[in-house]
Symmetry: C2
Subunit: 376 residues, 2 copies
């Protein structure tokens, strides 16, 4: 296994790409979907089950882990991989996004962000340097620059000022990260939905130099059309030979559209969160398992799906255990959703490798349009 971080493209189809990221902890097939293991667990799943769905890499949230159980404690216990029993690659976010969305009493300065924990009210100061230290303590394989981004829509001056602060923080993150063979540091492009700002951000990041590049500040309220508008040009502003990671995306149709536009990595809480609220994602569309019409339905969620929820249980059972508030409901629906998302990624990779992404995409949309499963 490779002892350094590298990215090799195997094929392209239009702007879409497929390849492999190699790390000392294993390979990541791209385009890759990363399940989110916020607090040291992909909710309602054992890590071996997450792996069984086809996941090559998990995402951990710096904000949650720094507050509880703390990065120092995880380091004393041998790092995040050992702590959560996942020996494959982990990407950690920088904490910046969650500080702004979850914490109380934030104060943003050039230095960083002061905030109070949403758990116990304790005070913390997160800076690019502290974020790099925390992610090093966690043992993250792919470390994200500390950044900041406004919810959209926002005035262009707000977006510009925020992006430039994030670029200064990117330079400080790069400096603080130092040289860590086998570990990667990714820069994060900002600039909202304004092409000039995206270009300025990309140029600054390339000047600093990173192992990979994320597109941040999307999936924050701007809608799919605006997101695809940015993705029509943003990946092209980034180096071809580095992975491109679209943060926080998304729904299956977001994923298909993003991959077609040249995205290599994504993450989203959607499959696991939906699973806990009784929503299942299938090729035929979205199933709301709490709907009474499933109460007597002996069919599986998806006849062709090979996940344990579909192999072994009826919709009637899934409906029953959801209504009864049973934990197995979250376990089975999360497993199904993660399986579906990973099958989608496998299908996209194979289609790109075979030069038939357009057919795959047309089929993806046709199945949903013809789905016997009514939307929510």
């Amino acid at each position: 296994m490779s002892q350094k971080f590298s990215f090799r493209l195997h094929a392209t189809d239009g702007r879409a790409r497929t390849g492999v990221i190699s790390t000392p902890r294993g390979e990541i097939r791209t385009p890759a979907f990363m399940p989110v293991g916020t607090a040291g667990t992909v909710k309602a799943m054992l890590p071996e089950s997450v792996r069984a769905t086809g996941a090559d890499i998990l995402l951990g949230n710096t904000y949650h882990l720094m507050l509880r159980p703390t990065a120092e404690r995880i380091a004393r216990l041998g790092g995040l991989h050992r702590f959560m029993n996942w020996d494959r690659p982990v990407l950690t976010d920088s904490g910046g996004f969650q500080v702004m969305s979850l914490s109380d009493l934030r104060k943003l300065t050039e230095e960083g962000v002061r905030f109070k924990s949403h758990i116990d009210g304790s005070e913390h100061h997160l800076t690019p340097e502290r974020s790099m230290e925390i992610q090093r303590l966690l043992g993250s394989d792919i470390v994200m620059c500390f950044d900041e981004c406004p919810a959209l829509p926002a005035p262009v001056e707000t977006v510009a000022a925020s992006m430039r602060l994030s670029m200064r923080w990117a330079a400080r993150s790069r400096e603080a990260f130092g040289d860590r063979p086998g570990h990667a540091l990714f820069g994060i492009m900002q600039g909202g939905v304004t092409q000039e700002l995206r270009a300025e951000s990309a140029s600054k990041l390339r000047e600093i130099g990173f192992d990979g590049y994320a597109i941040g500040g999307l999936a924050v309220g701007e809608g799919q059309e605006a997101m695809f508008g940015v993705l029509d040009y943003a990946p092209g502003l980034l180096p071809e030979d580095r992975p491109r990671y679209l943060m926080g995306v998304g729904k299956p149709d977001d994923i298909v559209g993003a991959v077609a536009r040249g995205i290599d990595m994504m993450d989203c809480v959607l499959p696991s969160r939906s699973g806990r609220t009784g929503q299942a994602w299938t090729r035929a569309g979205q199933v709301n398992i709490k709907n009474a019409r499933h109460a007597d339905d002996p069919r599986p969620l998806d006849e062709d799906c090979t996940c344990p929820a579909c192999r072994n249980y009826s919709r009637a059972y899934l409906h029953h255990v959801f209504r009864a508030g049973e934990i197995i409901s979250s376990m089975l629906l999360t497993w199904h959703n993660l399986h579906y998302f990973q099958e989608l990624m496998a299908g996209l990779r194979a289609a790109i490798a075979g030069g038939r992404l357009a057919d795959f995409t047309a089929d993806f949309h046709a199945r949903r349009a013809a789905g016997d499963i009514a939307p929510l």
Copy 2:
């Protein structure tokens, strides 16, 4: 595999027995501990994981299942085994105990019990005949007579009147059950802590004739000493060649004491319920994982335990995920507890077979006394 229900004793040690119950759905090694799958799921576990802990049989609750999703719905869907993806034996209780402990507006008559559902307030009438019908619809392998029992302590006249009603219901249950090859009907001895009443109940049940005999009305508040007092004589009142099932028991030391007194089967929600509240059962005693002293502890719950929670996770991790309210906490602790209970049963069976139950019991108590794990 046997197409009828049978019980074969392999060895005895003092009053303790070990053997095998054969059913068309598989063998049950005795003494057996039955995990409780109240509403069609052993909470926080997949059925294949329950099996992996060593369970040969599950218990389902008639009261819960008749109310939601209903016995008729489960029958339409192919029965409880298929519904919940467990193809091995299932024992169902009669609903009597839970009607008295959970429902609203009960009215007890010679005919049966009228009550309102605790879920939606709907009205139901449970009788011996209806209980037999429900358990048949569920497809239960071991069916329990419909009975009634008062919480202890209770006046002896109350206990006597209740026991005699249960015996009349036992005769009606036997009549309504009919002849169902491959399925067993168990009678339930009542009589509280009064030996004469227990003897009267046993005599009545033997006169009716059952495939197995339960000892009911214990583990309802009387304490271990009073329970063991009854178990010192009650199993001897029952036929030697039929399984003896102690209902709703219990803690590990209850189990060890009951097996030594001639009990073959037990069930209890304790391992799964404890798992969800952060309590782990180990050979060294009980561990309260939410206790702060586990926060930095890199050791597993039990160094010698081979369950996934002990093989793959530290106490520090289990502490963290419990504190964070993560579902994996219930999943791992329930798995550990069920594994521990089944290991205890396997140890008891081997000790009885080897004629060394006294040594096993002494060692069981010595490990707990020497445990480095403080009790709650």
